[in-house]
């Protein structure tokens, strides 16, 4: 097998920071190479260096042969041909990767026409086809949407559609499924697999999700601290990791309990039951949200919350949340899972008061968040910590991250002077970040590092209520494990309540006491984690469980076959 | 040879004359015009009397529509004029004495106020007459026994009435016509030209009045076939065009005076220099001393100012050199007015005499000079620069003044309208409307002209002078009257209410094909009537 892409001694540095040190690996046509490793270990930087997309501050050396040509020396015109044509790229943070002022349709059409001679009507047709392919509902209408009108997962799928638009020889996919729920993720993986078998597309897959690796990859490269520490076939790596780091990494993988993974079988024989404290909608797709279970002294209570995004001229209006009722008791973690685009972030936005609700109410410690003003509002805000889904855009590009973390502390005058610095340093360390990173600007960090900065900021004041929207999506499993440990520790210490949005069911299983499942704007099922995950009632929940990949190539292969049967 | 010069060559009848103006329009409604006999209005309107103007000669009064310059009777209270035969309007109808009367009556209607108004109070004291348009009332003090004769019954004797009869309101308006406010844009012409086209802000075009008869009109050669005004032109662009002298600009005349900067430029350009026409003298520029304010109430203090001001610096600031600016002034009556006497009550060099000024001030009890005076001036043109030159020369004599430049209108309001204005010194200039010493002195020094719109900027109030003015005005005999005015001139200056600075010369630039550009002793304006195109 000849190699389509061959990296040889690639080094990247930013000033005094050596981000990538002598990395060499190769990908053959039709092969899926997974690059895994520590967050901040240089996975993204290496990938971006291939297409010459690093900022001008980066110094790149080494060789990257693609089809026999060194990508680093290509003249601009040839490089343009390669970009988007022979090599498609899925960026790690889809929410910032799209131009906010053009519709997604325009941007997709543009990507197509940059390399194919198509009439605009044909290009449009092809674009809609692509949108359909990545599972975006109502592609005709979504074609006209602006990026800010889509959910994180939907945007990620747009970016994927854009990358595969010209059927590239090599697809570089940087965390392509971080924002996707497992059902959609399964479909996307299916799409990639199809691309590979149909066109012999090689895939350079950067991910921290070992389930995905197990599902898709042929070979694995493990990176740590800017270096490749180990590479081998997927079975070798999973079965017998040599390096200490790899072992640690695989050791950190958490999986759904075996009871929960029985979902596939159960889904095939669906039945609807209701149990105490565990409610589920009877129909699928549901037409209304299930009522809340009784609460005692909730920190957060959401009653009959609806959010409708008003359509622009001509555009449809979206009912992103429909009569959602939830509550969280002090010290409780409520896991919110659901389909991509089902309204999870919308609910989170409404809870924080950032999104204007159409109807219903949100109370935090009994105070209506929409009504509170002035001093009371500030006091209320102090009790809440928020982690946004898109870490990059939730950090001020002009502020060093250390200051961003210090902001809530300074704002509420919780500490002063050097105490602030100390607190910031300890916060950063507790999310596994070196305190030296504090002077950096957001764009100088890796995706996972940014996400941890956001977590640190949210935890800065030991909030009573933490609203975390996919807070660990960009973290490699070892860091994720440490962060989850931190969560638990803090919870034990301060007993904060948490609305934890995630598509990673394993994380939910570990962390959450109760789970609510959303689908198309409705809460279709909610109840104790054990009960919901082990004995899901609603068909969507069942599908969800069935789709969750496991970090074991053999086992995952078996599950995939079952899932296909179900679909 | 700047004085009253005649430039150009052989003028023949025909051609088109262009007049370049910086103002947005030109008033052709006789009731509302303040145009002197020699300028714009004369193209279209004739009047009862006119002026004979020539370089180097005193201006005299001559008949226009009338056969003579009026016969006074009743000690100057009644004046009778007779019209020449066969004078026609542009529409072919005959000009009648009743039309002159109608024209004057019209000028009393508030809708048509705004022109020269020397006749108004004399014919209708207290302006009780409100014009013919409301109820058709006639003005009883004007009689028209027949179509040719017109008799004015004045409220008091007025020796200069024949001169007053040359003001615009004495132009005929066909009886009953001209009720519309914009009559001035399509008037019925009695003069050599009629208006073909009139666009405010842009242009006005005149062609010959077919019914005008040159034989009845000695003062107007009416040389060009067509006259075209170009309004709203930037003065500097006008001067550039005239210096450049190409195309139709050769046929053009710039109606505004050349500024000092333009003069400097013209001096360095031989061709342009030959096309610059400068008057012999002109408006009296003077520094008015507010006689009602603070130390200035003291005549001895005021006298110090006569020596303090550096008239030479003023000359340079006003035109670049003394030649173009005109001599330092020492009298109130301007050169070119019949019977004027030249004298100097406060002899010194044009540069002034700061030592003497200081001495006078000290003698009047101000050994440390004066402080905190307010010197008002217009903000337009180079008035502020002129004020600076006055201010710095005063400073040399220990008189400290602050210049307060004001926009034209607020200046007028401050200086002319306010009962208690806030200024000590005002830099102003005055050009009389008729070549009579009366027009030099009465508007500026009679006590009735203080505030309320009058021009007595020095707020000079002397009962003696008031009486003498009324007397002189009533004197019908020109020679005798002139003598009285000359005496008044001295008498007033002895009180030192103003410091005469210069008799400001006016300079005009014209294209190389415009001929007969000449300026008489009075007024200091080019005589538009003589213009012709060199062919």
């Amino acid at each position: 097998m000849t190699d389509l892409l061959e990296l040889d001694g690639v080094e990247v540095s930013f000033g005094s920071v050596q981000a990538v040190r002598s990395v060499s690996y190769s990908v053959a046509a039709g092969e899926v190479l997974a690059v895994v490793g520590e967050s901040g270990s240089g996975k993204t930087v290496t990938a971006m260096s291939l297409l010459g997309l690093l900022p001008s501050t980066a110094k790149v050396s080494g060789r990257a042969l693609f089809d026999g040509r060194n990508l680093y020396d290509l003249p601009p015109a040839d490089l343009r041909e390669v970009r988007g044509g022979d090599v498609g790229m899925v960026f790690q943070e889809p929410m910032s990767a799209l131009n906010p002022v053009f519709t997604i349709g325009d941007q997709l059409v543009e990507a197509i026409r940059a390399h194919q001679e198509l009439s605009s009507a044909d290009a449009r047709r092809r674009a809609i086809e692509l949108l359909d392919l990545v599972g975006l509902p109502e592609p005709d209408q979504r074609f006209r949407s602006y990026p800010h009108e889509l959910s994180g997962g939907q945007l990620q799928r747009i970016v994927i559609a854009m990358a595969v638009a010209n059927e590239p020889k090599l697809l570089i996919a940087d965390e392509p499924t971080t924002a996707l729920d497992v059902t959609v993720q399964a479909e996307i993986l299916e799409l990639l697999r199809d691309l590979r078998s149909r066109l012999r597309t090689a895939i350079l897959l950067i991910t921290h999700d070992m389930g995905v690796v197990a599902d898709l990859a042929d070979r694995v490269v493990v990176m740590y601290d800017g270096k490749v520490v180990e590479q081998g076939t997927v079975t070798e790596i999973f079965a017998a990791p040599k390096e200490k780091y790899t072992q640690e990494l695989l050791g950190s993988v958490i999986s759904l309990g075996s009871r929960a993974t029985k979902g596939v079988e159960r889904a095939l024989v669906a039945e609807v039951v209701t149990r105490p404290n565990h409610l589920a909608a009877a129909e699928h797709p549901a037409e209304s949200s299930v009522p809340d279970v009784p609460a005692e002294k909730p920190v957060l209570s959401v009653d009959d919350l609806s959010v409708v995004y008003g359509g622009r001229f001509r555009a449809i209006s979206v009912r992103a949340a429909d009569r959602v009722s939830l509550h969280i008791e002090p010290g409780e973690v409520l896991g919110l899972v659901g389909e991509s685009g089902s309204g999870k972030s919308t609910v989170a936005g409404a809870v924080t008061g950032l999104i204007r609700t159409t109807s219903g109410s949100v109370r935090i410690n009994g105070v209506d968040i929409a009504r509170v003003r002035g001093r009371a509002a500030k006091a209320l805000r102090r009790q809440i910590g928020v982690v946004f889904q898109d870490p990059l855009s939730s950090l001020n590009p002009r502020t060093p991250v250390g200051e961003s973390v210090a902001e809530p502390i300074n704002l509420h005058k919780a500490l002063t002077g050097t105490d602030v610095d100390k607190r910031v340093a300890s916060l950063l360390e507790s999310v596994q970040l070196s305190a030296t990173l504090r002077t950096r600007y957001p764009h100088e960090l890796s995706g996972g590092q940014r996400q941890r900065v956001c977590i640190a900021r949210a935890l800065a004041l030991n909030p009573d209520l933490l609203i975390a929207d996919e807070p660990t999506s960009a973290l490699d499993v070892s860091v994720q494990a440490k962060v989850l440990a931190l969560f638990r520790e803090l919870q034990a210490e301060h007993g904060f309540a948490c609305l934890f949005i995630s598509h990673d069911l394993a994380v939910i299983e570990q962390l959450a006491a109760r789970v609510a499942v959303m689908h198309r704007g409705h809460v279709v099922e909610q109840g104790p984690t054990n009960s919901v995950l082990a004995e899901p009632i609603h068909p969507y929940t069942q599908r969800l469980l069935a789709a969750a990949p496991v970090a074991d190539p053999e086992e995952q292969h078996r599950r995939r076959e079952a899932w296909r049967q179900l679909a | 040879k700047p004085a009253g010069g005649q430039a150009g060559g052989d003028v023949k009848k025909g051609g088109t004359l262009y007049l370049l103006s910086d103002s947005p329009t030109q008033q052709y409604d006789p009731a509302r015009s303040s145009s002197l006999v020699v300028t714009g209005l004369q193209f279209v309107h004739r009047r009862l009397t006119s002026w004979k103007v020539a370089p180097g000669q005193d201006t005299t009064i001559v008949p226009d529509l009338a056969t003579d310059t009026g016969k006074p009777s009743d000690g100057g209270k009644t004046w009778t004029f007779t019209l020449k035969d066969n004078q026609k309007y542009s529409d072919g109808s005959t000009i009648k004495s009743a039309d002159i009367k109608w024209g004057l009556e019209r000028s009393y209607a508030p809708a048509f106020a705004g022109g020269l108004a020397y006749h108004k109070d004399l014919l209708s004291p207290g302006l009780t007459y409100k014009g013919p348009f409301e109820g058709g009332q006639e003005l009883s003090t004007i009689e028209t026994p027949d179509d040719k004769t017109i008799i004015f019954k004045l409220a008091r004797p007025y020796g200069d009435w024949n001169w007053v009869a040359s003001t615009p309101a004495f132009a005929p308006v066909p009886k009953g016509k001209g009720a519309e406010a914009n009559y001035g844009e399509h008037p019925i012409a009695s003069g050599p030209y009629q208006i073909d086209k009139f666009e405010r802000g842009k242009t006005a075009e005149f062609s010959r009045n077919p019914h005008w008869d040159g034989k009845t009109d000695e003062t107007r050669p009416a040389n060009p076939d067509k006259v075209i005004w170009q309004f709203s032109q930037q003065t500097n662009v006008i001067s550039k065009r005239l210096i450049d002298d190409t195309g139709e600009d050769k046929n053009a005349f710039g109606i505004s005076f050349a500024s000092p900067a333009q003069l400097a430029q013209i001096q360095s350009n031989q061709s342009a220099k030959s096309r610059l026409v400068t008057s012999e003298s002109g408006a009296l520029a003077y520094l008015a001393l507010n006689t009602l304010r603070g130390k200035l109430t003291d005549v001895n203090v005021r006298k110090a100012f006569q020596y303090a001001v550096n008239k030479a610096a003023y000359q340079v600031a006003s035109a670049g050199n003394a030649q173009l600016a005109c001599d330092a002034a020492t009298t109130l009556v301007t050169p070119g007015i019949a019977g004027r006497e030249q004298f100097d009550l406060y002899p010194s060099k044009p540069e002034g005499d700061p030592a003497k000024a200081k001495e006078l001030l000290a003698a009047a009890g101000n050994p440390n000079g004066l402080e905190g005076l307010v010197l008002v001036t217009r903000a337009e043109n180079n008035w502020p620069k002129l004020a600076e030159s006055v201010q710095s020369s005063l400073a040399a004599s220990g008189i400290k003044a602050t210049i307060k430049p004001m926009d034209e209108e607020t200046f007028t309001a401050e200086v002319q309208n306010k009962p208690n204005p806030d200024y000590d010194l005002a830099l102003v200039s005055w050009q009389p409307d008729i070549p009579s010493a009366n027009a030099n002195i009465q508007p500026l020094f009679q006590s009735t002209e203080i505030g309320g719109g009058g021009y007595n900027t020095a707020r000079y109030n002397n009962a003696d002078v008031d009486r003498l003015i009324t007397e002189a005005q009533a004197t019908v005999d020109q020679k005798e009257a002139a003598k009285k005015w000359a005496e008044l001139d001295k008498k007033i200056l002895a009180d030192s209410p103003v410091v005469p600075l210069i008799y400001t010369r006016n300079s005009y630039l014209h294209g190389s094909k415009v001929g007969n550009v000449q300026i008489g002793r009075f007024p200091a304006y080019a005589d538009y009537r003589q213009f012709g195109i060199i062919q």
Binding site: L392 | S34, P110, A113, G115, A117, K120, E134, Q233, E409
Partner: protein
Amino acid sequence: MRAVKFVAGRFAGMVLVLLIVSFITFVVFYVLPSEPAQLACGRPCSPQALELAREFMGYNVPWYQQYFDFIGGIFGGRTFGTGQAAIVCSAPCFGYDFQNNADVLDEILSRVEVSVSVAIGAAIIWLITGVGLGVVSALKRGTPLDRITMAVAMAGVSMPAYLAGMLGITIFAFGLDVVPKNGYVPIGEDVAQWAWHLVTPWLVLAFLHAAIYARLTRGQMLETLGEDFIRTARAKGLTERKVVGRHALRNVLLPVVTVFGVDLGLLLAGTVITERIFSMPGVGMLLVDSIRSLNLPILLGVTLFAALAVTLVNFLVDLFYGVLDPRARLT
């Protein structure tokens, strides 16, 4: 429905702005120690004559009464004086200019074409050159090209309009003798001549204004080029031209459009100095003439017109924000 409400709200706002502007103008005018009737008084002017003129022009009543008369005139028309010589100004009457004997509205309307011609042409030129230069100097940052562009732009902003106008006319009309010296030809009469007469004023105005566009574009461009979506655009294989010209530029335009709105609004209401130098009888010239003679009716009329132009253009700009940046869409 929402759109209708929005437009209605803005319209009400516009009317309010116009009312306030006219009211303030009135007040200021009466604070001014001026005598508007002086010009209609003639020479010599006696107190009686002044009073008569004031009465005729409607200045003999208290200022607030005059203001109500003015507003009333807009809806019901006005009549000045009585009898045969009375002046009727029919509704909508924005006042009557006694100095020039003209209905203020007619007077303004007859000059709008000139001002709009001057403004639009110049605006297009400076927008294109300004933004173009800005993009170039952003891409060539720190090179001599960037610096020369900057210096030329600075010469433009630091030059008084009057000087630029005089230089323009001296060089193009007198020196090179290629364009007409001045005057305006209506577009309806002869389009080529219209444009030919306007070339110099356009260039002069563009020279004066282009700098701010160049500089705003440059700064904003540099800022935008660091965004992630630019990287995405590059990764698609777009030419640099498209990346800059489409993806970056669109994000750059927000401040540019804002300034453009302010400039254009003001310009539509007349460019005083340019109009004078090039003898273009536009609204700006009317305003200056009326200020020089404190001609209140015209002043008020032009002021209202200017305010209308400014509010209208800014309204359009606000709407345009939504098109440029959907996130900033108005609600």
